[in-house]
Symmetry: C2
Subunit: 246 residues, 2 copies
DNA sequence: CGCCCGGTTGACTATGGTCAATACGTGTGG
DNA sequence: CCACACGTATTGACCATAGTCAACCGGGCG
């Protein structure tokens, strides 16, 4: 079954082969990575790494969802990254993770010990170029996120999150292209709150409000039906029609 | 005088030679860049580029401060980048800027037309490696910023901003290393509000409060004396002593 | 001189946070 | 099979923080 832990697999069969940091690698470049890679599985809720811990490896997410987050001394936490399949974990050249990394569903990582990876990266422009592109995309996403955190209302934040998740699921080809859309939330209400800089109560209230008004339909707690995507996007506060959809 | 518009200069005399995207370039690599570079000056308040505009060049900030920001249709705006000397503007491979870029003081940019720059970058790992490093640093900064936007109180936000600016000025070697610190704010109250996701009134009130309590001393509106940096850092909500200062 | 811009301060309000009770669903054990 | 407990989610009552609207200050420039 596809959702089981993966222990061994070949790169050519990898589901993220053409999206991950290795996307642009040629045959023999891939062979070098294949030689040093190994898989790790974590269960939902497990911590991959605490902020301040040494991390001996970098990795690509193959399956499941993980979060990057930061915590203030008094316990307030802010999610700063949502890692889905093909996303990269770790920073070449840095030993200590400044973020907590937590599996929010069962996940599989394709890991590379840091040193050999850095060596290969140095010899392989296809990898560092791809990593630059991915990092620039992350930076754009972080900046969109900053707009959400700094300037949007609770309601707009929820609508934005639903839209973002729908977009990412669509990009991975998991959803029917059109028609009433289904969004599968990989996050608990609390995790959504940490994503959006809200409390879980406010998240719950706003979801209830959107449901009451018919903008979304809940099917269970974690599955959302969107009868009219355009209507949901109207609630995000963004410019829906005009502007450039980069 | 050092603060005048710059029209012509050689790379070897450039104040950001060892911090910008060209930092790791060898002699002849630098020559190639020198050949295609040109300077542009903008006055405080001028717009370098509106979101959605085509930008024919990428650039390094040599002098002054500029902001990257995003605006919602109803006018709410969030700053998503504060560009100081040595910071890079633009994204290789992208034609249209998704952000407004605005000079907040008089600035000088070292510009490269996009196409030739991309060409040189492709042939010059020293440039793309440096750009990757800078982008990863930006991403870390964006994530720290997300924590500020999502979880900190108005008071903590102000203290954090002062600390960040002090840190950046110190890194550029503009300040005496220790003793009562001077911080030169490159931003108006409104720009600080856009940085922090606050209103300008709240910024003003919190600055007044910190002044009233003696944590900071204003010398004019834009110059802040910090008698005890540690005390200011206590107000940021961050873990001051423990934790890893990355 | 008077205007304009940036900044400060005050009074009032609204949004979202806090604390607490309750509901729901699933797995465990009697 | 049902009872219970635990984790997750919902809802309500109340409150605090920051936003809104408005008046006012002060310096620089035409």
């Amino acid at each position: 079954m596809a959702n089981q832990a993966i222990v061994e697999a070949e790169c050519k069969d990898c589901p993220i082969r053409h999206n991950a940091v290795c996307a642009r690698c040629e045959r023999e470049e891939l062979d070098k990575l294949e030689e040093i890679k190994y898989y790790r599985n974590y269960e939902a809720g497990q911590t991959v790494c605490w902020a301040g811990d040494e991390m001996g490896f970098v990795a690509s997410v193959i399956r499941g969802a993980a979060t990057l987050s930061q915590t203030l001394e008094d316990g307030r936490t802010q999610m700063v990254g949502l890692l889905l399949p093909s996303d990269f974990i770790g920073r070449p050249g840095r030993v200590v993770s400044p973020y907590d990394i937590i599996a929010v569903s069962d996940i599989t990582l394709c890991c590379f010990r840091r040193k050999p990876f850095e060596q290969i990266m140095h010899e392989t422009p296809h990898i560092s170029e791809r990593l630059l592109d991915m990092t620039l995309d992350e930076l754009d996403a972080a900046r969109e996120w900053m707009l959400i955190l700094g300037r949007k209302t609770a309601r707009e934040k929820i609508a934005s999150l639903l839209t973002i998740i729908a977009r990412r699921e669509a990009a991975m080809g998991l959803t029917a292209a059109s028609g009433p859309l289904m969004v599968e939330l990989p996050l608990t209400r609390e995790a959504m709150a940490d994503y959006l800089g809200l409390t879980l109560e406010t998240v719950s209230r706003q979801i209830s409000a959107l449901k009451r008004e018919g903008t979304i339909i809940l099917e269970g707690k974690r599955r959302v039906r969107v009868p009219d995507m355009h209507r949901l996007m109207m609630e995000t506060g963004d410019d829906v029609d005009g502007g450039v959809i980069a």
